[in-house]
Symmetry: none
Amino acid sequence: MPEKKAVLFIVDGLGGRPTDMDGETCLEAAETPNLDGMASGGINGLLHTVKRGVKPGSDVAHLSILSYDPEEGYTGRGVFEALGYGMDATKGNIYFRTNFATVDGDVVQDRRAGRINEGQKELEEAINSIDLEDAEFNFKATNQHRGALELVGDNLSPHITDTDPHESGEKMKSCEPVTSSKEAEKTAEIVNQFIEKSREVMEDLDINDRRKEDGEPPANCLLLRGASHMMDVETLEGKYDVESTCVAAGPLYLGVAKQVGMDVRTPDGATGGVDSDLIAKAKTAVSEVDEKDFVFIHAKGADNAGHDHDAEGKKKFLEKVDEAVGYLLDKLDWNRTHMVFTGDHTTPVGYGNHTAEPVPVVFYGSEVRTDSVEEIGERSCARGDLGHMEGLELLPVLFNYNDWTEKYGS
Amino acid sequence: MPEKKAVLFIVDGLGGRPTDMDGETCLEAAETPNLDGMASGGINGLLHTVKRGVKPGSDVAHLSILSYDPEEGYTGRGVFEALGYGMDATKGNIYFRTNFATVDGDVVQDRRAGRINEGQKELEEAINSIDLEDAEFNFKATNQHRGALELVGDNLSPHITDTDPHESGEKMKSCEPVTSSKEAEKTAEIVNQFIEKSREVMEDLDINDRRKEDGEPPANCLLLRGASHMMDVETLEGKYDVESTCVAAGPLYLGVAKQVGMDVRTPDGATGGVDSDLIAKAKTAVSEVDEKDFVFIHAKGADNAGHDHDAEGKKKFLEKVDEAVGYLLDKLDWNRTHMVFTGDHTTPVGYGNHTAEPVPVVFYGSEVRTDSVEEIGERSCARGDLGHMEGLELLPVLFNYNDWTEKYGS
């Protein structure tokens, strides 16, 4: 008997609303012969990644789908971004997402410092030269205005507020504890001290002098958000005895995968945007399936198009997803593989942000009890035999088809 | 973009059983063109207001539907009745529903003192003249035998038994603590002291002398039930940032609405019975929608008819509900409104009391993923794309369509 394999394909922001495309969702309107084939040959339903009525952020949605309850130890997005950007994360330290921003006095004039695309090294070195009294830290500038910050120390707490006001034109915020613990108070003080010192060292850097001369917004402040720590959770291998790889480009998804102990791969051409080469991802996935038990492929572009109110872009990206699914259907060994296709949340193009409606979910493979659904879609899958399920149930259901899960009781 | 609006229409005791009307439920048998239109243009399912298999009281069902978990602080119905009768409620005080009753010795001969419809003022004044050693109190007589009692004091507990035996012919009960706390013991003692004194002052009132002469059962005792306190919960506005109104007539529903911080309206002609003017309620709702974000309309009569084993009466009332829904469909602005229609529990006319079967639920509005259901009904809605949902999920799902809810995670 061949060794079994499991594949999870998540399309970020997969779901939509009938107002997206004149009575149809983008997924319903898209030409998706391969996904329709998967639905016809599989069992279909709807997935609430957290719970019915809950509008999930991408971090929480992915944790749930990978069977980690966000209620048990999720503190924020920072640690996943830091991991995704290649930082190592250590239990007890605190992680933030950061933006280079332009401030005048206390007012944030541009949260992204004009999407600055130069001088990251100079800025990073300047910031890393700061001395703090009560903690060490590591800062990493990544692409454009983005970066990650690690605060290293004893008795630190992630239960503190963002300094990022989340909107240009607003005052930057002082970091405050959100619990009354000494740890949170101390951490907030350290952060405020860090922010003050970082402003001092950033203000007169050559890069900023040059930008000011050229009329470009200077990167004279670092905004912090998503304070969080490593979750103290068992790895996916510990939970299910599976070796696994995540194929993704977006740092958040790579970071969540690392948090749960997966290997990660980002093939050339995979961008985390609508222009991503999904066939490259599918190829990488197929080769990873040879080595590993479980492969998770993430495709981001549908969410981006949803946030950009771009219905045609979302539809086109979903058609690219369909081609990648076609590649997998063609190349994987269906004598030994079960695959699930789903999304992490709905991102209607009208609203342009996440909403709580469930997303289609299809399980495919030889052991699946097929149903009468004949095409992929929010409404077609609603009539499938799976009914409504929740994120935490997804991997147990998938791995059950491979007879990988443990019996409860005897 | 216009400001969005949300409407909740609850029919008390909406659900039924096939034995109600010769193989059909009253809802299935009723002529309901407007509700059928709402079902056709909406998404349908079944609602378990608490959980599958749980037979909900009206108080608990309404708390759940308004997204307040009764497990978190529900102690009894008294406080809602008191609020609904226009008493102010203060945290820490204890509230009861009361009946004027006729007792002989310790035996309750008539739990409603012949549905007494006179002398309420005299009885109320006599009772309010009592002095208690360890607590203050306020008593309010309302309609017929009904009233509400507030016990004011420190360290009082709602964890005490009813003095009402719930059946005529039984002995009235002594109030007993149901936990071993000092507070419950003290509160039970105060209640027993109050009952004794109230019997003394009621016995020889003019109204009772007159009733005895006329062969009418005297109101010579007050029965207490539903001891409870204000729930320590956030208001609906605090939870969801919505201003809201409840349009209802029954004191329980007005009281639950007040508990969660809603404004309340009872239009002329709204009675809380089968004779209620539901078009008056719908008109009030439409005008409240202009002022508020969220309006909850309650219609009670279907439950009354169910309790009275009156299948024709329930069917007719549901046809009146349908007209009111037609008025709303006609008058509300569907470019900005989402509405949900459902019930709080099943009240089959055969059994004549609440049962645990789920009730139909329909969400309607532009963002809803419509399904293939074409008429309202317990069995038709069961085939809708919503599947089975629970009460606590109802407002999050409704408000999600208006993009009013917060993201969990980022």
